[in-house]
């Protein structure tokens, strides 16, 4: 694997976890019995920490890190610029949310807004990573994969911040997500096999990779252990995190670019 991609693996994973936590903080505040007074302070601290680490990691991805400020230049056509912008706004909103939660100011609309902007940020990430050189993912698949990650890791890791009684709420979203994720991630490489030479090579890479199968195994384990719909074991989020990490490494390492096949039959 090209180790230069490690920063982006971390950035995407950590920010998607952060957005997941934000979505569930807002959700809990919205639908649970405690309502606006539900405790979400720790999550917002975690969210900000995750964003912070993710951004620092992404920083190291750049050949000239000090130029990162100029990354907002091309919002006109570049999804990457839009991603930076949206995450910047999400970060600010998350900080404001933490402040409001901390000072116990009325914050219902703020948390929802932050969560929405977070999802928007993941949307831009999904679009930015649909690289035009990468036939297998030059489409909505990155967006689909990233959203599945948000809704897998969000509820899973949220269990560390909530009481056991809230697990049912989390499971009600986690279970169908795990099912969808397992099906999608299992089927997609087979679909790639029937595509052009570049997609086919990508499909073959995934099907031959332990990273891919271990990811699916983690999802399967998750499905098995939350099938009762009531509680999530404490070790499960760790397994799911590892699964997502392996899957994300696969995403960055195994997708073939069309430039790698020049001279060959497409």
């Amino acid at each position: 694997m090209d180790t230069r991609e490690l920063p982006l693996i971390l950035f995407t994973l950590l920010t998607q976890l952060a957005v997941g936590l934000a979505v569930f903080a807002a959700l809990r505040q919205w639908v649970t019995v405690e309502g606006p007074s539900v405790k979400t302070r720790n999550e917002w601290i975690a969210i900000l920490a995750l964003i912070g680490v993710g951004v620092v990691a992404a920083f190291f991805h750049l050949g000239k890190p000090l130029g990162f400020i100029r990354m907002l230049t091309n919002i006109g056509t570049a999804w990457l610029s839009r991603e930076i912008l949206t995450f910047a706004i999400f970060g600010v909103l998350a900080a404001v949310s933490l402040y409001m939660v901390y000072t116990k100011v009325a914050n219902g609309w703020m948390l929802k807004l932050t969560a929405l902007v977070g999802l928007l940020a993941v949307f831009t990430t999904g679009m930015a990573y649909a690289g035009k050189a990468m036939d297998a993912i030059n489409n909505l698949l990155p967006l689909v994969f990233f959203m599945l990650t948000v809704f897998t890791l969000g509820p899973a890791v949220a269990t560390y911040f909530v009481e056991e009684k809230t697990h049912a709420l989390l499971t009600s979203i986690l279970f169908p997500t795990l099912l969808a994720s397992l099906i999608v991630r299992f089927v997609v490489p087979f679909i790639w096999l029937s595509g052009n030479a570049v997609m086919n090579a990508t499909g073959q890479n995934f099907l031959a990779s332990p990273l891919h199968w271990l990811h699916l195994a983690a999802l399967l384990a998750g499905l098995f252990f939350v099938r009762n719909g009531k509680s999530i074991p404490a070790w499960l989020p760790i397994v799911l995190l590892i699964g997502e990490l392996l899957g994300r490494i696969a995403f960055f390492a195994l997708v073939v670019t069309s430039g790698a096949n020049l001279g060959g039959v497409y």
């Binding site: 050949g63 990354m71 096949n261």
Partner: protein, 186 residues
């Protein structure tokens, strides 16, 4: 209007790689950095290994994916179609590597920026040919003006080259022809 493009005649091309090295020579590229090189055609396309090639650098597309996806605006497109990369503006995020279907941009790890062929625009502006075109001993690699020259004998998407009308590469090709072969073994 002028629309500059490379014309790659794989029938005339003798696989000498003068074009590639002329480019390295003109720009004093670091070892490991290659902007132009020969891509051998697979045996399904030409029946002998390493005997037919496309000389490719950047295809100076009409809708360049590198330019669209660059967050810092390091790419600009000139009126004559040349897509220029500015190494000083580039921050080395490598998003263009994910976007160019032809793998034209190359990342220079030492310098922390991306590099690619900018069609020797400095030479063109002085009425000279790009270094690679001047180097070609058989006129296999030439500079054409898609708006003025007759390129009717060429194709835009030959076998061995990605079909990408969404970016619309400017390069034009002529395909190679294999000779009559008299073998004594098989």
């Amino acid at each position: 209007m002028t629309r500059y493009a490379f014309s790659v005649n794989a029938e005339l091309c003798i696989g000498c790689s003068s074009c590639g090295m002329a480019c390295k020579n003109q720009y004093n590229l670091d070892p490991g950095m290659v902007w132009r090189k020969l891509y051998p055609l697979s045996e399904e396309i030409y029946p002998y290994k390493d005997r037919a090639f496309y000389s490719l650098a950047c295809n100076h597309c009409s809708q360049p994916a590198c330019l669209e996806g660059c967050p810092v605006g390091a790419y600009t497109q000139r009126d004559d179609g040349i897509v220029v990369h500015n190494e000083d503006v580039c921050i080395g995020c490598r998003n263009c590597l994910r976007n160019c279907p032809f793998g034209a941009p190359r990342y220079n790890e030492e310098e922390g920026h991306v590099e690619k062929c900018s069609m020797c625009w400095q030479r063109i502006d002085e009425g000279l040919l790009p270094a690679c075109v001047q180097a070609c001993p058989t006129n296999a690699l030439t500079l054409v003006d898609l708006d003025a020259d007759d390129v009717s004998g060429t194709v835009q998407y030959p076998p061995g080259f990605p079909y990408r009308p969404d970016v619309e590469p400017s390069t034009r090709f002529v395909l190679p022809v294999a000779p009559k072969v008299v073998r004594r073994d098989v």
